[in-house]
Assembly symmetry: C3
């Protein structure tokens, strides 16, 4: 009885492997990994998935450090820095199990910090069972198999052996980000950069003769947080970078436009902003000037600061309509919830949590002004899935400028992607979405994340195909669109990909 | 490998077709269209679906123009007016792709409007791929096959050929709404009408000797929007229609009651109202009078207008408890979001979007007063699905007066219907819902919409049957209830249907 | 054609029954009951389910009366009291169909109340079809088959025969709760008790020599509702029970701590509180004292009372961090919505409904103070599922103290459990959840509820297994964790279960 499901697999899923070998059921490197096992849907899903096998990875949004590519021989130091410390998805689950950040080598004010990466790795491995069935676990399994060729799942017993096996490969002279970029078949990768960044690393990459496409993205958050203690400093940096002495709202806008022009010249095709809510307001220049002066004087209130951001979102939309840089908005993360963690160790360590978000009413003023503008494009991301079918897909189904970004952060999982398809496409169709972006911090997770997306996409399309909602030709075209075509088009990156990857 | 899913279909789904012919896999007119392909569930779903094959369509709520039936030889003018211009589901997706409304023949102030229907049809066909996997696309596919007998999916290349083929049939003397009504096997169809409408078209239909049942519905929105500039005009029309000179709250109520009586006499069994939120308030007559006078003087504020509507909802419930007309509430659409579109082209063109909605607290005053009244029935519709399991199903599971309407507007899709069943029935059971209403504007979509609903219903019931949650007898009875029995009962329309379609 | 789904079942699901007998398709006591019928997933689900067959039921939260166990020969009086009147899940559905509470034997002020249990049972049976596909229906079906050995589904025709068959068994000298406790294989069962309860029944049980484990739980609601008319009375009872004369905030806290110590001594491992929202505030002792005095004077406002509760939640967390009693919070039920029902018949009769709930911002003050405390554990329950992926799972994925309770009340269904797994585990992993609690009022529903949970768990794990996301060893360990291991650990009950039921 115990083995019956395997018998059923064997009887019902014969020879599904594309290259003719028998399925290996207990190794994680399986072709049918993650597909629904419905015996009618599975072969359709595999056929659709295979049809996109040669298409490149397009990475229009993420948090990979450009330094990985500016230095030809950049090497990752060790498995812990690469896979644990740099990834707040990993850190927060370990923390939830009572593992102190200092024991993971994360600096905590007044605490002795663990220095031995092998010890930290052992801790990680001891708790690795807690990642079962999470996307982080799926990605790490995938990296071990497909990047490092390690077939065993990590656990407390094999921890140090796996550490050594990874370290050996990290030390290999050929294990450089540039070579991995080619091996992963990446067509283009956008980083996330401060407006005050002089983009020297991007310049180095561009002038190095290397063929990879690493583009900057104009991420404006710090410049807008007018009530933060360090805002004044950010303005000074912006003055410096732009060569414009910022003393009023007018010069502030000038400096931003100056930097956008520079980013565009360096290849940027998009901007990004993360906001707690989606409120937008069409304010007078006089009011914006008043708020700005209060910011300079350090007398702006919390509510006034929110009003300033709401006014700036319309202003940023205006700039995008003029310079053609795509506007991305990531909405709904309440940052630095654990105040002690923030003051002792800083941001981005896993203590940011979503809140409920509205879009319809808050975006009205921006969309009435620019939603129909032919040169404007607004890509929306949410952490509150209840807005998918209620507000986001309806808005995208009408306004030409609005497009929906892929499931973000906590929602970037196989289930999250299925919910996105089920709740969004009925309402706005596939062509008001922008395909996938991996949002990766750990460069090595990129193929795993795209793989998860493509398998979920193939799965969804197969369900439509076998139910006769779409035909085979449409299924394959939609698979190409999801794999890279939509992202290339929406982010204006079509020049970076071969013609067969495009949908226009 | 590529064809394996077809092999699997062939092996696993043999002879499922009820009349013994082989399945035709690449034609859209398939019996297994839309069913889950799980080889255990599929035959159960088909059995259940077939059990309802002869049951008539019951259409208790929609937006079909009664003129289609008052004129015996009414003819649709052309494919564009019928399938594109009259359907804001279609218009909004085209608009989202940057297609200007004037190029679709929609009047826009100050713009040259395209007049050639063939050109407009070509534009529609060019963008038809954007409707893939949307319910609108599914319905249009269904209409082409099942109403017009056109087996090809519409695209840019076959656009004009399909246009001609449709036009030819529209011009056929037998292609009249009255004959289609019989062909579609409709038992009864309710329209949506203004309280000031004299229902002359309904009178014409009733006195024509034609056997169809076209009933009016009392839709009260315009009469309640006390802060709108055209409200005064609506009140004048209501005075005229009722013969009651409306000068205070008392005469206003009298006029409404007068018109309800007239609607009831003309066969109406239900009223309808669309509101932005579900707030209800038990206000004193004195306060209602004060608000009403402010409305007449044009001095009522936005908040006071909302308070008036909240008070009127309780008043309308009181009237329903007295005259027995079922009260429908459609909650949560924020109308005319794109202000320019509204001022240049008017309402109902696709720029209405949902907002988050509460029900538990806002409905308390109405439900404490009338929720247990034996003669009162309140059918609730939401655009915010997060309220299904959180508030709507719990309320319907307790108050005898409360029933849940089918998934509405953006949620009226195969996935939306599945979510409705999964989130609602666990909590309130099937018999606190009211089955299906098609909400159709385009008369030809009616069979396609009912077909989608019935297939989704059969699918859901099959899942319960094969998991032994219900037995075959219950499955077939529940299928009858979903197909027409619940709607007949909830809307008091049982006299219009054969006995075998009823559940009481 | 009609029987094809049965043929498919027979062909595709051969001999899945663990003991080799053929499946009986039309009896409700089936092994494959409730499993997804996908022929690949089903055998895996059954294998996983079977692996937990011998594990005991762990019941860390519920509403069973301890009197059932304090009297050795306790007997249930009749089927109606046991299965209808004591269960507001049943009552509310009957009420929704227009059945008056007095006709069900529920006291209603000023109404003649039906006294004949057989008549009430007949009414229940007449409406039993309305429970089809609801969890209540599933549980009652399960009880009839598995507790009483009655294979027929209840209906109007067999009502009195089934009544007699049940009554006969209730009257059997061996049909006592203590014997059922053993037969159900319960390891430990916690009740819900007032802080002023002297726990005499629990003392009787403890001193009786009977081997069952019936533990009290400290449920503090009534003591916190400072603006309720009967609060003063609750304080008096608390004074009496604690022997501390409560005259200010300090003595109030002392009395609570005194009672917690007593509960702990009597075996309690947890506290519980139900709140309308999750607001927590770190208030000064001075402010709490002021609010408390206003409460004593009867001059506290609604907003001040909410502020007091928000402050007390932090205070209760502080106590839990000190005494180690696990803190449960049930959030989001708006109680006694139907005011007439409440004043005529009292609470807990089905007129409590959920409202939208936030967690991220409201819990911040409590979590910043105690979320990282090694001795504190906070188990959160929601009625608003939109908070699962948006706020609850993210919070649990970071704070060591936060764990997520199983789907509660309206969401405790097969579909609700699937949604819980799909939306929660991706984000926080399995080990930040606490497995199952049955929340039962009707003692006989306990095995049915655990069975539903285990089948849903096996189903979910099977989906992961056949998609190779987890391996067989992990699947079986996770099944053990879900069946009892997580609950034993989270509620500190591991001493009450055999070693093979634990996960630590």
């Amino acid at each position: 009885m115990v083995q019956l499901w395997k018998v059923a697999c064997t009887l019902l899923l014969p020879c599904l492997n594309s290259n003719g070998e028998k399925m290996k059921h207990n190794t994680p490197n399986r072709n049918e990994y993650y597909f629904l096992t419905n015996p009618v849907v599975l072969p359709a899903a595999m056929m659709i998935y295979e049809s996109a096998a040669d298409l490149p990875l397009v990475c229009p949004h993420g948090h990979v450090d450009p330094r990985l590519f500016s230095e030809e021989d950049y090497h990752f130091s060790n498995p812990v820095e690469l896979m644990v410390q740099s990834d707040h998805y990993v850190l927060r689950i370990l923390h939830s199990q009572g593992v102190a950040y200092e024991s993971l080598g994360i600096p905590v004010k007044g605490k002795l910090v663990e220095q031995d990466p092998l010890k930290i790795w052992q801790t990680f491995a001891n708790y690795y069972y807690c990642f079962a069935a999470t996307p982080t676990g799926v990605w790490i399994d995938d990296i071990l198999v497909n990047v490092f060729g390690i077939e065993e799942r990590l656990n407390g017993k094999n921890a140090s052996a796996i550490y050594m096996a990874i370290q050996e490969q990290l030390d290999d002279p050929n294990f450089t980000p540039r070579k991995l970029y080619q091996r992963f078949n990446i067509a283009v990768l956008s980083t996330t950069d401060s407006p005050s960044d002089n983009l020297s690393l991007h310049r180095q990459i561009a002038s190095s003769g290397w063929k990879g496409n690493i583009l900057p993205t104009f991420r404006v958050d710090a410049i807008l947080q007018i009530d933060r203690p360090d805002w004044r400093q950010e303005i000074d940096k912006l003055s410096m970078a732009s060569g414009i002495n910022i003393m009023d709202f007018h010069s502030y806008i000038q400096a931003l436009e100056n930097r956008r022009a520079w980013f565009k010249q360096m290849g940027a095709t998009a901007t990004d902003i993360a906001v707690v809510n989606a409120e937008t307001l069409l304010l007078s220049v006089r009011e914006m000037e008043e708020l700005f002066q209060k910011g300079l004087n350090g007398t702006i209130s919390f509510d006034e600061a929110n009003r300033f951001v709401a006014g700036m979102l319309v202003e940023l939309a205006r700039m995008s309509a003029e310079d053609g840089l795509v506007m991305q908005m990531h909405v709904g993360s309440y940052r630095n919830h654990d105040i002690d963690l923030f003051s002792n160790s800083g941001p981005d360590l896993g203590a940011d949590f979503p809140i409920p978000i509205e879009f319809t009413r808050p975006l009205q003023q921006l969309l009435c002004r620019f939603g129909n503008h032919p040169n404007f494009s607004l890509i929306l991301f949410t952490l509150d899935e209840s807005a998918y079918a209620r507000e986001l897909a309806p808005l995208a189904s009408y306004y030409p400028a609005v497009k929906l970004g892929a499931p973000w952060w906590f929602n970037d999982s196989f289930n999250g992607i299925q919910r996105f398809f089920d709740q969004v496409i009925d309402i706005c169709g596939l062509y008001n979405t922008v395909g996938f972006n991996d949002d990766a911090r750990n460069f090595l997770t990129i193929p795993a994340r795209h793989n998860q997306w493509r398998r979920a996409s193939a799965n969804w399309l197969a369900g439509l195909l076998v139910r006769h909602v779409i035909d085979e030709e449409a299924a394959q075209f939609m698979m190409k669109a999801l794999s890279c075509g939509l992202a290339l088009k929406a982010y204006k990156l079509e020049d970076y990909a071969p013609e067969n990857a495009r949908i226009t």
